[in-house]
Symmetry: C2
Subunit: 298 residues, 2 copies
C-alpha cells in the first residue's frame, strides 16, 4: 500500500506503528528519526526501522506516508521542520491525544500543504515508554479517531481510514473540538485524578505504610498514574479548559457523595452508588449505548 514510511519519533507509539505496518505488509521500507540518536540506533537494531535518518526532514524525503509520534507540544515545530519536503500526494498523520491544537499547528506549520495532514488519535497506549516496548499488536482492535478539518484532503482522509482499518482498528471521525471534549472526560480527567491521588498519598507521613497494604483495586485505579510525566504535562496544558471543566463537574459529584456521607443519608448514597455501579457494569469498550441497562430495540 505504501512504499516508504517516514517515522518521526521511534518510541512506543511510533515503533509499534512501524512494526504493525510491516507485519500487515502495508509498507516496504521504514526510515526513522528520533530526537535521541541512541533511540534511532536502537530502533534500527530491533528492526523497527530499516534506515536511520539524521533529521526529521530527511526522514520525510522519499516517503509517501509520514507519521509523527512525538509529544503533542512538539507537533508544530516538527511539522515546520519537515514542511519543505511535504507534498500533496503524501499522507501525514500524528498519534497525539489532543486534536484541536494539533489541527491548528498543522494549518500554521504546513500552510497550503495542510491538505496532506490527517489528525489521528489511536486510543491505545501502555504505561511504559521507549522503542524496547514497541509491539506490532498495540493498535489491533483499538479505536482510532480522525479529526479532519476543512483543510484536510479527501484523498488523504480516505487513505487514512483504509490504513487504520487494515491494521485492525475501528475508525471514527469527529471534529477536533468534540474529540478534545470527549477525551477530557474519559481520559485526561481520569489521568489527572489518578496523578493527584498518588500525590495525596505521597504527601502523608504514613504514605509508604499505606501503599504496602494496597490491593488489586488500587493497582487498577492507579495504573494510569504511571504515565509519562512530560507527555501528560503537555496533554493537561494543551487541553486545560476542557479538563478543568470536567474536573469541576467531577468535584460537584464528589461533593454530593460527601454530603450524603456526612448526613448519614444511606438511601441517597445507595442511589448514587447504584447509578454509578450500573453504568460501569454495562459499559463495554468501543460499544455505543452499552451503558444503558436496557438498550433500545433496534
Amino acid at each position: 500500500m505504501f512504499k516508504q514510511l517516514g517515522l518521526i519519533g521511534c518510541g512506543l507509539m511510533g515503533g509499534s506503528f512501524a512494526l504493525a505496518m510491516k507485519q500487515a505488509g502495508l509498507v516496504r521500507r521504514v526510515v526513522g528519526y528520533s530526537k535521541s540518536p541512541s533511540t534511532t540506533e536502537r530502533a534500527c537494531e530491533l528492526g523497527v526501522i530499516d534506515v536511520a535518518a539524521p533529521s526529521a526532514l530527511l526522514a520525510v524525503a522519499g516517503a509517501d506516508l509520514v507519521l509523527l509520534a512525538v509529544p503533542v507540544a512538539a507537533t508544530e515545530t516538527t511539522l515546520k521542520s519537515i514542511k519543505h519536503l511535504v507534498t500533496r500526494d503524501m499522507l501525514v498523520m500524528d498519534v497525539g491525544s489532543t486534536k484541536a491544537d494539533v489541527a491548528q499547528a498543522a494549518r500554521r506549520a504546513l500552510g497550503s500543504m495542510a491538505s496532506a495532514f490527517v489528525p489521528a488519535h489511536p486510543v491505545t497506549g501502555r504505561e511504559v515508554s521507549g522503542v524496547e516496548f514497541a509491539d506490532a499488536s498495540l493498535y489491533r482492535g483499538c479505536q482510532v479517531v480522525l479529526t479532519p478539518t476543512e483543510h484536510t484532503g479527501d484523498t488523504q482522509l480516505r487513505k487514512a481510514e483504509q490504513l487504520w482499518e487494515a491494521l485492525g482498528c475501528q475508525v471514527r471521525q469527529m471534529s477536533p473540538q468534540a474529540h478534545d471534549q470527549a477525551f477530557a472526560a474519559v481520559s485526561h480527567l481520569p489521568h489527572l485524578l489518578a496523578f493527584a491521588f498518588m500525590q495525596s498519598i505521597a504527601g502523608q507521613p504514613e504514605g509508604d505504610a499505606f501503599l504496602a497494604l494496597a490491593g488489586p483495586g488500587f493497582r487498577d485505579f492507579t495504573r494510569i498514574a504511571a504515565g509519562e510525566p512530560k507527555m501528560w504535562r503537555d496533554i493537561l496544558l494543551t487541553n486545560r479548559e476542557q479538563v478543568l471543566e470536567q474536573s469541576q463537574l467531577f468535584q460537584q459529584a464528589l461533593h454530593a457523595f460527601e454530603q450524603a456521607m456526612r448526613a448519614g443519608d444511606a438511601q441517597a448514597l445507595e442511589d448514587m452508588l447504584t447509578l454509578a455501579s450500573g453504568m460501569r457494569t454495562h459499559w463495554r469498550m468501543g460499544v455505543e449505548g452499552a451503558t444503558s441497562p436496557t438498550p433500545p430495540q433496534s
Copy 2:
C-alpha cells in the same frame, strides 16, 4: 485442621473461602446459611457448602470455625443472633473491609465470648458478586490484615494466622484504627473517586457518547466503580471520618494540579507528575517500601 465450618453468608467472599478451605484440606464439613434461601440452595448445588442451615444460629451449631461473610453493617446483628452457640474454643472471623466498627460490634454482641472473635480483612475481591462466582483461588497470594483487640484470645489469633497462611495469604496485624485509616487511603477513597467520576459522566448530556470513546485507561481506572452498591454504602458510611479526611487531602492535591494548569506552570506540573508517576511505577503489590526509587540497603 477444622472439623466444621459454619459459613454465614454464601456469596463471593464466603463461598470462595469455603472452596479454598476444602481444596486445602483444612475443613471436613461446611454448614452454610445465607439470608436468601435461593443462595443457600445454590451453594449446596455448587458444592460450596455441604449442608444448608435454616438460620445463622444453626449454622454455628457444632462448628469449630465460623466465618461471617456479610455486609459490614450486618455484623453486629449477625453476631447477636449466633452468640448463644459461640464457645471459647471456637474461632470466629469476619472478612469485612472496615475493622473499628466490627471490633466494637463483636465486643457489644459477644460480651465475654468476644475472645473467640478475630477481626479479619482479606485484601481481595471481584467486581462481581454471588455464589456463582465463588472461586477457590480468590484468597491465594493476597494480604490478610488481622486487627485483634485486647479482648481477642491468643489461641484464636494464632489459629487465624495459621489458617490464612495455609491458604497462601500473607498475614499482617495492626490495630482496627490503623487499618481503617490505611484502607480509607488506599481502597475506600479510590472507590469513592471512581463512583463519583462515573456519576459526573452520567450527569452530562453527552455522557453516553463520551463513554463510547473510552479506552483501556478508563476501563482500569473505573473497574472498582462496578462494586456492589450496598456493600460500598456501608463501607463509606462506617468509615466516613477517615474517608472524608482522605478526600480532603486528595482535593488539596487536585487543586495544586489545577492551579499549575491554570497558571500554565509547566515546570510545577511536570514536577508533580514526575513524583506521582515515579511513585506508582515503583509500587509493587504487598511489598513495603517498594515505592522508593532507591530502596534502602538491608
